[in-house]
Every structure is written in C-alpha cells, then in structure tokens.
C-alpha cells in the first residue's frame, strides 16, 4: 500500500492483537458497523467463512443463491438505509458473478464493498484453479479496487474501502484478498480512514456560484427543477423541500430521485424522461431556467441533446465535477454537497409563486390524464393493467411502502403510479437497467429496514433471471412481498418491436412455468389473480400476511407504456399514444 491515507485512530481498537488475516477482515467489518453481509462461499474465501462462523452472533451472513443476488441484496440494503452494503464471494466464477451488481452500483452511485477471495499469492498469474484477474475485470466498473497479498495490509485497505465507498459520490469498491493473506497472522490494529490525499470527495462550495444561481432563479419567469438521487444521497431532503417551497418552482424527478419530496407534494410535477410525465418533459423545452440538482442528464432523461432545453439557462448543482458539461452545457455550475449547497441557496431566494406557469403543467397533466392515465388506472376494457395493480398497492399501503422494481414496463409503470411518501422508497436499477435486480434487492431492503413494508414488483422476464433467490427469502424468512406482473412477454422489448419493428416479436414471447407452484415449492404462500374483481382482496391478503408472500397478477398481454419519447427524439416530442 503506497497510497497515502490520513488515519483517524479508533480508540476502541488501539491495542494490537495477533490474529489471522481472515479474522482481521471480520474485525474491520465490525469496526465499520457492518451487521449483515451477503455472499456465497467457495475455496479461496473459506478462511473468512470460518471466521464468519465464529462471529455469527455479531455479524449475520446471508447465503444468497447466486453471487449476483448477493450484490443486488447489498445494493438494496444500501439504497434503503444509506449505509454501505457488503457482498462477499470466492475467486474465479464467484468473483465474476459479482460484476453485474458492481456495474449497477457504479452507474447508480450505490455505496458497496465487495470482498473476493483469490488464489494464494504464489499462484497469481499461473492460471490456477478458480483464478481470475478480478481486479483487472472490475476496474472499469468500480470506484476503487485493490488486491491484498499480505495480511498486514488488511486494516488500512479495508478502512480505505469503506471510506471511498461511502464518501463523496458513493460507489462500489472491490477488495481481492489472496488465500495466504487470509491465513497469515499479524499484529492487528484498526484505524478508520478519514481521507486519501489524491481524492477530494466533496468539492469546496464556491459561494459566488451559489449567488449566481440565486440571481438566475430569482429573475426567472418560468423556472423548473429536475432533481435526481443526489438529493437523497446527500441527505438533503429537508433543505431541498425548503428551497422548492420558498422558490415555488415546479419540480420534476429522475427515476432515482423519486420520493425525495413526496409524490403528493403540490410542487411535485412528476417524472422526466423516456416514460416520464407529459408536462415536465414538454415544458423542459419551454422553461427559462432549468435547475438540475444531483442528477446527471442521462440520455433517457434528455432525449435528443441537440433539442434539449436549448432556450433555458441551465444551473447544475452537482458533487461530481466530471458531470458538469458532460451532456448538457451549464450556465452556472454549483459544485458541492447537495445539503450544503441548497442550505446556502435558501436564504438568497425570493419567495415566489408562478400561477400561470403552474397552470401550464396542470393543463398538460389534464391531457396526459385523458389520453393515458385514465385508461391505465380505470380501464374499461377487459384485461388487468399494471397500473391498476399499483393503484391497489397505493391504496392499501397508503403510499408508505418501499417499492423495489426490476427493469422493464412494470418498472416504468411502478415509478409513474406508485405513491412515494418517504425518501429512499423507490429502489430500482436506473442507469444499468439490470433485469433480475428486483427480487434480491428487495431482500436487502427488507433486512435493512424490517419495520418497512417492502414490495418487490417484477415482470415475468426479470423475475426468472434471479428467481432462485426465493430460496434466500425462505431460508432468511425475509418478509418480502413479491408481485409478478405477468404479461407472458418481455414487455418493453415487445413494445419497441410493435412500434419500431413492425410487430416482429423476435424472442419476446415467454412460455412461463407455474409461478405459484414454484413459490409454494419454497414454502412461500402464494396466489394468482386473473380477474379485476379479485385484485383488491388478493393485495389485502398479501399485505396482511406476516412473512414473505407471492402474488402473480396476469395482466393484459400487449399493454404499452405511454407517454414515450422515442430514441433520438426531443423531450417535447413525447408521444401519448
């Protein structure tokens, strides 16, 4: 370890003790406040598992049914709690199976530490059994990674791993530990990391940029806010709400921003992006000042950049300097932590309301309601819609549930129609779009917040990508409510095939198994609903059941998600049908 780290001595572990590398790993995890980790054992990580056995009263290891599930569970844990999720696996295939979850955590800024076993250091590079260059493989999808070959490196590297994962813009860190380093004994002493000299987690707030932002906002006639996950990651929900309310600005959210202010808040004007709401998408190209807060102008948000908010002055509140001007040119960039930046902005703002501007959003909402929402929520034709399932869940959970979704049509419908009363309630794979994310992520979310209702909503496609995690739910008795919206299609791809490929449904139709029987095979109570009149009671039964529950809802086969911005189109050319 040649990296210079700034250490903070942990007074509780001042004295050194002679222990093995693997015991040191457990002690590091405990010192970092880890109480749960998700993983799968194997040859190269066995010494650590032996210590997990000894420490099982202090740290709970959850055996997932696949290493990918371990990462998604760790992500769900992190996303609902804000704490660092931890996943552990063996070398070779165990390690490579983590990659999808790591990539997902990287693009969605989720704090996660992954620990992998590695072949003994004298075997490195020799194509040993279950050897893989996981540091090389994981480099482009980790915030930081490191290989440990000597036990004495463990405390400093582990401290640094947790510090990097959770600080600044969070992200995944992978630590690879050779088997000999796990066995080796050394004098253990733990010091928490409080800084790395080459790394500035939070840029220093420049007051003049805040003043410039305030000036633009105060002078605006048609301002609009788009906020992202940065608000929740920065624990800035209170400051954000105060800014929105004082300035009276209509505020829209990206998929990962959902819930930072409640869905029902009068200034919450809905979701932007490909399947977002009509008004905020259309009026992005009408506003005079666009205020982006903790978001990164993903292409699914902006549509065609050449026609995105060209008329507007753009203000970007952002923690990561690399995001400034990456996709959208800003007029004022406010670098820093959302909480601090928004707190500095608040006193500079003038109290305002924009009745005419707000009316525009209301008028466009009325159009979206007539064309789309009414038919989604109150269908008159036969065949259940996904949206009415969400409506029923809203009614029965009062919007207090954490909704964990997979990827596809059901995800867009869930984000559009779920009521999010609380922050950190929409747990979904945003940037990477990882099918199979939902079910294991729900396990982690439920274990991190057992007091909350956690509802996993998946489609029949994504559900089957990680369906084996039903075994984890059963073994852990995790009280996850599992809803599968079954349309017997890979629905989103089918929708694209219908709209852009002349209905050539290439490999999107699914012949599905008996999902209820599978759930029951894992001793999970289960029910299947096919009729509208049975939905209410079925959701009630699910909510009122202690412990896990599976509900399959057969929905219309060829339902589409609208509004929709076709790829390459402008946000204001969003289609309603």
């Amino acid at each position: 370890m040649e990296t210079k780290t700034i250490k903070e001595t942990d007074t509780t572990s001042q004295q050194t003790v002679r222990i093995s590398g693997s015991e040191a790993i457990i002690k590091c995890l405990l010192a970092e406040g880890v109480d749960i980790l998700y993983g799968y054992p194997g040859g190269a990580i066995m010494p650590v598992y032996d210590e997990l056995y000894k420490y099982q009263d202090k740290i709970h290891h959850v055996l997932t049914r696949h290493e990918q599930g371990a990462t998604h569970s760790a992500q769900g844990y992190a996303r609902i709690s804000g704490k660092v999720g931890v996943a552990i696996a063996t070398s070779g295939p165990g390690a490579t199976n983590l990659i999808t979850g790591i990539a997902d955590a990287q693009i969605d800024s989720t704090p996660m530490v992954c620990i992998t076993g590695q072949v003994a250091s004298h075997l490195l590079g020799s194509d040993a059994f279950q050897e893989t260059d996981i540091v090389g493989i994981s480099t482009p999808v980790t915030k930081w990674n490191h290989q440990i070959t000597k036990a004495s490196q463990i405390p400093e590297v582990m401290a640094k791993a947790f510090y990097i994962a959770r600080s600044g813009r969070p992200g995944p860190v992978l630590i690879d530990i050779t088997k000999d380093a796990q066995f080796e004994e050394f004098d253990f002493k733990y010091e928490k990391c409080k800084g790395v000299r080459s790394y500035i987690p939070i840029p220093k707030l420049d007051r003049t940029s805040v003043e410039a932002a305030a000036k633009l906002i105060n002078a605006a006639k048609k301002p609009m806010i788009v906020w992202g996950q940065g608000v929740a990651l920065g624990q800035a929900e209170m400051q954000f709400k105060a800014v929105v309310e004082k300035a009276g600005i209509p505020s829209a959210w990206t998929i990962l921003g959902a819930g930072a202010i409640p869905t029902s808040h009068p200034l919450n004007i809905g979701m932007v992006g490909m399947h977002g709401n009509y008004a905020p998408n259309v009026l992005t190209n009408d506003c005079d000042v666009l205020i982006a807060i903790g978001m990164r102008f993903d292409d699914r948000v902006t549509g065609n950049l050449a026609t995105y908010a060209k008329q507007a002055k753009v203000i970007h509140f952002e923690i990561d300097p690399a995001e400034i001007d990456k996709n959208v040119k800003t007029d004022v960039a406010v670098l820093g932590d959302a909480k601090e930046s928004l707190a500095a902005l608040l006193p500079l703002l003038i109290e305002k309301t924009y009745p005419e501007w707000h009316q525009k959003f209301k008028d466009l909402y009325a159009i979206e309601y007539e064309k789309v929402i009414k038919h989604d929520l109150h269908p008159t034709k036969e065949g259940l819609t996904m949206a009415e399932v969400l409506k029923e869940i809203n009614n029965q959970t009062k919007g207090d549930a954490a909704i964990v979704t997979d990827v596809g049509q059901h995800q867009m419908i869930a984000c559009r129609y779920a009521n999010f009363n609380k922050t950190r309630s929409n747990i979904t794979s945003g940037g990477l779009g990882t099918m199979g994310f939902g079910l294991p992520a729900a396990i982690g979310a439920k274990m991190a917040a057992p007091e909350r209702e956690v509802i996993s909503i998946s489609g029949d496609g994504g559900y089957q990508m990680t369906i084996q995690e039903l075994g984890t739910i059963f073994q852990q008795k995790a009280g996850v409510k599992i809803v599968v919206l079954n349309n017997e299609f890979l629905g989103m791809v089918r929708q694209w095939q219908q709209l852009f490929f002349d209905k050539r449904y290439a490999s999107t139709e699914m012949t599905n198994p008996d999902f209820v029987a599978i759930a029951k095979g894992y001793f999970i109570e289960a029910e299947k609903v096919t009729k509208r009149e049975d939905l209410k009671d079925a959701v009630a039964k699910m909510i009122n059941t202690d412990g896990p529950y599976f509900l399959e809802v057969c929905v219309e086969k060829e339902g589409n998600v609208f509004p929709m911005i076709p790829t390459g189109a402008s946000v204001s050319d969003i289609r309603l049908e």
Partner: protein, 175 residues
C-alpha cells in the same frame, strides 16, 4: 471545437498497481487510441507522472480529463496543446557497421541531425536521437535508405511552459 487536435495529457498519480489499466480504460470506452504513453517519477517524491499523447476534439478531451481526475488515486490531470508544452521523444537505430565505412553520408546525416553514436562494434552500431517527432521521422527516412536492423521510438515526455501547481496542492492535502 469539434475538430481533432493533438493533446499532451499530464497525469499525476499515486504509484499503485493497476492504475494504468484504470486510466487507459477511460480512453478505451470512448474508442480513442493512445498515440504514446510514458510513465515516470515526477518532481514530487512518490508521485508518478504519466505523459500521454492523444488525438481528439477538445470537448471530448475536457470530459476525459474530468473522468481521469475523478479516479481515487489520480491527484491531478491536465491537457495541453502543442504550443503550451516543451516536449521530446527519443529513438534508437541499430545498423550494420559496414555502412559506416561504405556509405560516408551516414556520418553527415548523424552530425546534421544532432544524433549521436552510442556504441560501435564489429557487426553493428547504435544511433540515439532525441527531439520532436518530425525530426525523428526525418532521420528515420534518411537512414532507412541504407537499411535499419532495429528501430525503437519512446513515448513523448513533456513539461509545460506554465506552472503546474501540483506541489502546493499536495502540501494543502497533507496539512
């Protein structure tokens, strides 16, 4: 803004295993070829300096610098145009010794190009030349007429005309 230029990228980093992979991956994912790359110690103890040459548009260059700088073990990254740096490359030619006596103009070429003979033995002699890429390419063309046994050119190394405030930055960290 969107036309391609040659940029010299200077990156100050910790001296850690795997960092080359991390930095080159940022170019790779945007499908950008690295024209030359050099890694060495820098003016600051325990700090490595990378010098890379890349051909791309300035707006893309800026974004890449941001993404390089965001890597945990990168201390600071800069990009400069040709005018803003003093740069050199070095090259080595291995040629048959007979040529020194049979082809007298070789000695003139060596003299005029400010190259130097590093070693001579019965079978071959070795010429070294430092300079700009064009000077090295010219020497290559001139010598190639006589037959070159081996040729190698180094990556660019460069210093900037303006000050890089890296030392003061690091001092601030340590304080």
């Amino acid at each position: 803004m969107n036309q391609n230029n040659l940029y010299t990228v200077s990156i100050y980093t910790e001296n850690n295993i795997g960092l080359l992979n991390r930095i080159s991956a940022i170019f790779q994912r945007r499908h950008i070829n690295i024209e030359s790359i050099n890694s060495s110690v820098s003016e600051i103890e325990n700090v490595t300096k990378w010098t890379m040459v890349v051909l791309l548009a300035e707006d893309q260059m800026k974004k890449i610098i941001g993404q390089i700088e965001k890597q945990v073990e990168v201390i600071k990254a800069y990009y400069h145009t040709e005018d803003e740096t003093i740069y050199q490359e070095s090259c080595i030619f291995k040629m048959k010794s007979d040529l020194l006596f049979d082809e007298r103009q070789i000695q003139n070429i060596i003299k005029e190009s400010n190259a130097r003979i590093v070693t001579v033995n019965r079978d071959f002699f070795v010429i070294e030349k430092s300079g700009r890429k064009e000077e090295i390419e010219l020497l290559y063309r001139e010598l190639n007429v006589f037959g070159i046994m081996q040729f190698t050119r180094s990556g660019r190394i460069a210093v900037t005309k303006d000050e890089m405030k890296i030392s003061t930055m690091l001092e601030a960290f340590q304080a």
